[in-house]
């Protein structure tokens, strides 16, 4: 059968015929080859069968997508281990406090495998700390006093938007201007060294690394940290940088 012999109208009629076709009853006198040739007329092999496609589903917004996929995630987790979530409700015992950037590309849980209740997380713009910020100080106090955290890691990253904001600090206003000020001051103090670097990526990374060092120094100067270390409890402070270009964490060795 030549498919060019059928017009679109004829093809849709054939489709209707296929779905409405009743099974051929085998009567005496019909041989198998005759039945086959009848079947070929009903189901020509070269025709592409066009079904009525279902109506396209409107794209979900990200919150709707998350609510939908979260259900599947929970179901799969429970299937693999029926007491997984029940075990999570016990008091949390993380050993690491992650102080990282809010950047959507630096997913602390994913790149450290921390879905085992391992990492207590503080994420803000530019992974920044200050001695007057109640928000981050409360997290550090809770981590050190209540959870008895053993490691604090401050993680900066390349291509950081907060460093870009520090580079153009004079154009900022509002809360973000107050927030970025310490990083802008750090940039101004090291301007010759940073501006001398050949590419913008390197300038951003250099400021990010200096910012991590600044935060490590701030943490080491906090009373609560000094007290904990003096009492002999194990507490290590680390400075890391996450390279967005290859997904790797590097220890800056600034503890």
């Amino acid at each position: 059968m030549n498919s060019r012999a059928f017009s679109t109208l004829q093809r849709s009629s054939i489709t209707k015929l296929i779905f409405q076709a009743k099974p051929i009853r085998i009567h005496r006198g019909y041989t198998a080859s005759l039945l086959n040739s009848i079947r070929k007329q009903q189901f020509p092999p070269n025709i592409k069968y066009v079904h009525n496609s279902p109506k396209p589903v409107p794209a979900l917004s990200l919150p709707e997508q998350i609510l939908k996929y979260n259900k599947e995630w929970a179901k799969n987790k429970t299937k693999a281990d029926s007491s997984y979530f029940e075990n999570m409700t016990a008091v949390q015992t993380p050993e690491i406090l992650w102080i990282g950037c809010s950047d959507s590309r630096v997913c602390s849980d994913v790149l450290t495998g921390s879905n085992f209740g391992r990492v207590f997380t503080l994420r803000n713009v530019g992974n920044s700390l200050s001695t007057t910020d109640t928000n981050s100080l409360a997290v550090i106090q809770f981590a050190v006093e209540t959870l008895k955290i053993k490691h604090i890691v401050i993680v900066g990253h390349t291509f950081c938007g907060a460093m870009e904001a520090a580079f153009k600090y004079n154009s900022l206003n509002g809360p973000i201007s107050d927030w970025i000020k310490p990083i802008a001051d750090l940039y101004n103090k090291n301007k010759p060294t940073i501006d001398a670097l050949p590419t913008h990526k390197q300038q951003n990374q250099a400021l990010s690394e200096l910012n991590v060092k600044r935060n490590v120094d701030i943490i080491n100067s906090l009373d609560i940290i000094k007290k904990t270390k003096k009492s002999g409890k194990e507490l290590n402070i680390h400075g890391w940088i996450y390279d967005i270009e290859n997904g790797s964490l590097q220890d800056l060795k600034v503890s």
Partner: protein, 249 residues
């Protein structure tokens, strides 16, 4: 004799068949990607044995994770160097049992995240306000989610606020005030889970109202920008997110 039509059919089939073994690019969520992505458990099992401190283990984990992604697609990370375009801002709790990136089944680049004790925002806290300002002015994200959770330590602390001092006491003061204002109703529930859940829900609603009424949000909305603020609770005991349906838009 092969007709032109059947030639194209054969060509189409050949293309499809050759594509079956080629790995499609990951664009949506982790589970849409082919199975040769290692699970966290598989990566843990591959960490070389030895006397690692916990942070050394995390660095080893990360090395294996990033190699896994690169072996699947050499440009996987380079795609991120052009900037971030998240679809949602998550303001959640620092709790280690609420890994927002994992439980939402998202891939890197989708959620801009701020995590602090008891997912709180206040008008004099420049930390959370800077996150919101960056979200609205720079990233132009349309959806902000305030996500509380059950068994929250911050909520428990707010119900025993007098036992704390220092930055924590100051930080949880608004939640402690919320508890006092609703004490009769909350204390009528059984202690433990029920009270924590009730105060957690009230706290999420409180923060949704604060964020929805911020000057920067009002200004953005007046200029025609869409800003929706959602309130969710993550049920740790089942792994499910509950939408509290208190969306401010």
């Amino acid at each position: 004799m092969v007709s032109i039509k059947s030639f194209f059919n054969i060509a189409a089939i050949a293309t499809v068949l050759s594509g079956v073994n080629a790995a499609p690019k990951c664009v949506k969520r982790v589970v849409d990607c082919p199975r040769h992505h290692l699970t966290p458990q598989e990566i843990e099992a591959m960490i070389p044995a030895g006397n690692h401190t916990l942070t050394e283990m995390v660095l080893e984990y990360n090395k294996i994770w990033s190699n896994d992604n690169l072996s699947f697609d050499p440009n996987y990370f380079k795609n991120f160097t052009g900037g971030q375009y998240p679809g949602l801002t998550w303001i959640g709790c620092s709790d280690s049992r609420v890994p927002s990136d994992t439980l939402t089944e998202t891939v890197p680049g989708q959620i801009f995240t701020h995590r602090n004790i008891a997912n709180s925002v206040s008008e004099d806290d420049i930390n959370s306000l800077a996150v919101l300002q960056y979200t609205i002015d720079e990233l132009k994200v349309q959806d902000i989610v305030i996500s509380g959770h059950t068994y929250c330590g911050g909520i428990n602390a707010a119900m025993n606020a007098t036992a704390f001092n220092g930055p924590i006491a100051k930080w949880i003061q608004p939640i402690a005030d919320l508890y006092e204002a609703n004490r009769a109703q909350i204390d009528a529930l059984s202690p433990g889970y029920e009270r924590n859940y009730a105060l957690g829900k009230l706290n999420v609603k409180r923060v949704v109202d604060i964020v929805g009424n911020l000057e920067m949000v009002k200004t953005a909305r007046e200029e025609g920008q869409i800003v929706r603020v959602h309130g969710w609770i993550y049920h740790m005991e089942t792994g499910l997110i509950e939408d509290l349906k208190v969306t401010n838009e």
